[in-house]
């Protein structure tokens, strides 16, 4: 079936099954299966445990903890029973593994981040030597000095505690790179690794070398980052990372989100810079946009024709009416948002001079967004107010829609049965009439792909279409081998892995025999990371704007803050999980856009946007604060778009 048709079915499906949040439950683990398996239990940000899932594919919230319980099934352990010696050896192993992780976590930033911070300090200090009034350099220096102190403080305190004489020797020379300190830390890591190897051997000896050996590891796959192994507490010695929960409704961004936004905007900026140099491409782009709208409209009409021929049309239309009745309630809430936004706009207008001064001399959209974001912080309270009152109204509306959806489903089932019973030659002709609509949808989809191709070519030309990630294999390291007698749940803290909505974590359980030379079973389970409930998403991309009272379309860069909603994943009767649904039209509210004109002049615009197709297309209106004119905008996140066009990969 063509993908566009799929999309429409998804929209209808979403409307039919908008799910409410399932009650948090504390459940006992499922009955052990015959085969080894992983049981996944999500613990959400409020600390509530959700239903256990022995799923090959599970869905978890982006800010959750995941408890992973290995089950060995019929691979009954044959090792000796637990003894005091074994318990002592196990405690020693755990203590050593914890210490090793603690020290490794200290060394990593010292090796990777310190040189960068020292370089920042040097550069900022030199800039201040040249011009002591350079406030930007002053702020950079202060920030780098703070980072330097924050990074080194735990290292120095730790070494002072465990090896004071060694630390005094390491600090006796003024070494800007703190290389002697790092070397001291490495020495301790080597000692701990050696002690851990000895303790592991002792443990294996104490356990008689028999029984099952169990390893568990997790690999994090992200669309635009290289795949990497991540820490599972209790099963490896990798650094845990710092907790960094994704703020679901604020303006702040996690480092991963910031990097993603910067990448998207950098790509868009490169393309926006190139487009004016290629008149043909610009013309085609404008035509493509027109065709895109036309095709979508035609496809919608075609689908409408198909819907007309559907025997259960009346039932669906009744449901649509119910949804429509709820729209005013939703609209009222959105008007509340619009009022709040109007306040923000007024505030921004007042700050226009300040913002423009901040932007002068800088053509870097990322910096411009930062300046704007600071201004927008004032609006955050207004949006929070919406967040406080909005969900309640929305929840009631959604509840009504949900109940109507259930009734509709029941009626559809009955009507489908009736339709099958009454199947006749007449009904075949009605279905035949719908087939051209399906062909039209396919044709329009192919047309859309063709029209978007110039963009993809431009992206390939500029090299921004380079996609990292995917399915490259990662060899697990730092694993702790556990015995069947010592088997316990592992814990994965998603807030420490810098996740993005749509990422995947692949869990692998390896069960080997006593000598660990023969693998008996290696089941896997994929965790799909989602943002559930009301949440915001930052989207950076290539924007095309048309200003009022002017001709032509200008390419630019946009950054949008969009509110989405996804209902929670649900357990199916067969034990699998079904992902939550998004709002039927993925609509949201956007706040920002940055416009770069053909003569490279940076202009700043601001206004509401609506997101379609999961941010693949963002349309909106805005107000150019510099030229004081309204404009219409259409934006698309380039990297995400290329991802979707390049292959079947994971979609959000």
């Amino acid at each position: 079936m063509p993908v566009t048709a799929n999309r429409w079915w998804t929209i209808v499906g979403s409307a039919l099954s908008i799910a409410c949040r399932p009650p948090a439950t504390v459940s006992s683990p499922p009955t052990p299966a015959a085969e080894p398996a992983l049981v996944v239990t999500e613990i959400d940000e409020r600390g509530s445990k959700h239903q256990d899932c022995r799923c090959v594919r599970a869905f978890v919230d982006i800010n959750s903890w995941v408890q992973i319980t290995p089950q060995l099934g019929n691979l009954v352990p044959t090792g000796s029973p637990d003894t005091p010696e074994l318990a002592a050896a196990r405690s020693a192993l755990r203590a050593l593994a914890d210490s090793l992780r603690e020290v490794t976590e200290l060394l990593q930033p010292l090796a990777h981040d310190l040189p960068v911070i020292v370089q920042r300090i040097t550069a900022a200090a030199q800039a201040l030597d040249r011009n002591p009034a350079d406030s930007q350099a002053g702020a950079e220096l202060a920030s780098a000095i703070r980072a330097h102190g924050t990074l080194l403080l735990p290292v120095t305190k730790y070494l002072n505690k465990i090896d004071r004489p060694g630390l005094i020797r390491a600090l006796a020379q003024p070494d800007p790179g703190y290389q002697a300190v790092a070397a001291l830390l490495r020495t301790h890591i080597e000692r701990l690794e050696q002690a851990l190897a000895t303790a592991t051997a002792d443990y294996q000896r104490a356990s008689g070398g028999r029984g099952l050996r169990v390893q568990l590891w997790a690999i994090h796959y992200s669309a635009r980052r290289a795949a990497a192994q991540i820490h599972v507490e209790g099963y490896d010695n990798l650094p845990a990372g710092d907790p960094n929960p994704v703020p679901k409704l604020g303006f702040a961004r996690t480092p991963a989100e910031q990097a993603d936004l910067n990448n998207g905007m950098d790509a868009a900026r490169q393309v926006a810079d190139i487009i004016p140099r290629f008149t043909d491409i610009t013309t085609n782009a404008a035509r493509s946009l027109d065709s895109l709208f036309r095709s979508a409209r035609d496809a919608a009409r075609g689908f409408g024709g198909f819907l007309d021929s559907f025997p259960a049309r009346a039932t669906l239309m009744a449901f649509a009416d119910t949804v429509q009745q709820q729209v005013p309630a939703l609209a009222r809430r959105l008007r509340g948002v619009a009022d709040s936004l109007a306040l923000v706009i007024d505030s921004l207008r007042n700050q226009q001079a300040t913002i423009l001064r901040g932007l002068q001399g800088s053509t870097d959209p990322a910096m411009a967004v930062d300046v704007l974001t600071r201004g927008l912080t004032q609006g955050e309270d207004a949006v929070r107010r919406f967040a406080a009152i909005g969900p309640q109204g929305l929840a009631i509306a959604m509840q009504i829609i949900d109940s109507a959806a259930r009734a509709t489903q029941q009626r559809l089932n009955a009507e489908l049965l009736g339709f099958i019973n009454a199947f006749s030659r007449d009904s075949i002709s009605r279905w035949k009439a719908a087939i051209p609509s399906l062909h039209n949808i396919d044709r329009h989809y192919q047309e859309l792909r063709k029209r978007v191709e110039p963009f993809v070519k431009v992206l390939q030309l500029t090299g921004v279409a380079r996609i990292v990630g995917g399915t490259e294999s990662v060899d697990p390291t730092g694993l702790v081998t556990r015995t069947a007698e010592d088997l316990g749940p592992g814990m994965l803290d998603l807030t420490r892995i810098e996740p993005l909505d749509g990422d995947v974590v692949l869990l692998t359980l390896r069960v080997s025999d006593g000598s660990a030379s023969r693998v008996l079973a290696e089941p896997t389970s994929a965790l799909r990371i989602r943002s559930y409930g009301l949440h915001r998403r930052w989207s950076g991309g290539l924007a095309f704007t048309r200003e009022s009272r002017t001709d032509g379309i200008l390419p630019g860069v946009s950054a949008s803050w969009i509110i989405h909603y996804r209902s929670f994943a649900k357990m199916q009767p067969d034990g699998s999980q079904r992902d939550g649904k998004t709002w039927p039209l993925d609509f949201g509210v956007g706040l920002t856009s940055v416009v770069i004109t053909r003569n490279s002049e940076v202009q700043l615009g601001f206004g509401p946007v609506i997101s379609l197709f999961d941010d693949a297309l963002v349309v909106g209106a805005g107000y150019n604060l510099q030229r004081q004119r309204g404009y219409l905008m259409l934006s698309t996140p380039l990297l995400d778009l290329v991802n979707r066009l390049s292959g079947p990969g994971e979609t959000r």
Partner: protein, 114 residues
């Protein structure tokens, strides 16, 4: 290291300039006679690790300070005090502490972080 040997107006001006420098973490070493010279010398070694942003000022005669400053910088009989970038005292090292290179380094780092 800036050594202020006396209570003259010149020393006072140098001290004011050092404290007012908005881009340096300043460690004041206060007094002369109970090992302060060793502390100042070791502190200077740690200051050199980040020479562009750390500085040691050895005030040999605390009478150079006003009484309010003495109360602020010499809290709990402190022999050294670290000022952060906002010129606020954030770390005090007492005479009774075992002051060596690690304590001085930690004091500088706490001054940077705070």
């Amino acid at each position: 290291m800036l050594i202020l040997p006396d209570t003259t107006a010149g020393s006072r001006k140098l001290l004011d300039d050092a404290i007012a420098d908005p881009f340096r973490i300043t460690m004041l070493v206060l007094g002369d006679g109970h090992g302060e010279d060793v502390i100042a010398s070791k502190a200077d070694v740690r200051a050199q690790a980040l020479a562009s942003t750390r500085r040691v000022v050895w005030i040999r005669d605390p009478n150079l300070l006003t009484s309010a400053e003495r109360k602020k910088y010499m809290k709990d009989d402190a022999v050294a005090c670290v000022l952060n970038l906002r010129d606020e005292p954030v770390v005090w090292l007492s005479r009774s502490d075992d002051i060596d290179l690690p304590e001085l380094e930690i004091a500088f780092q706490e001054g940077q972080a705070g």
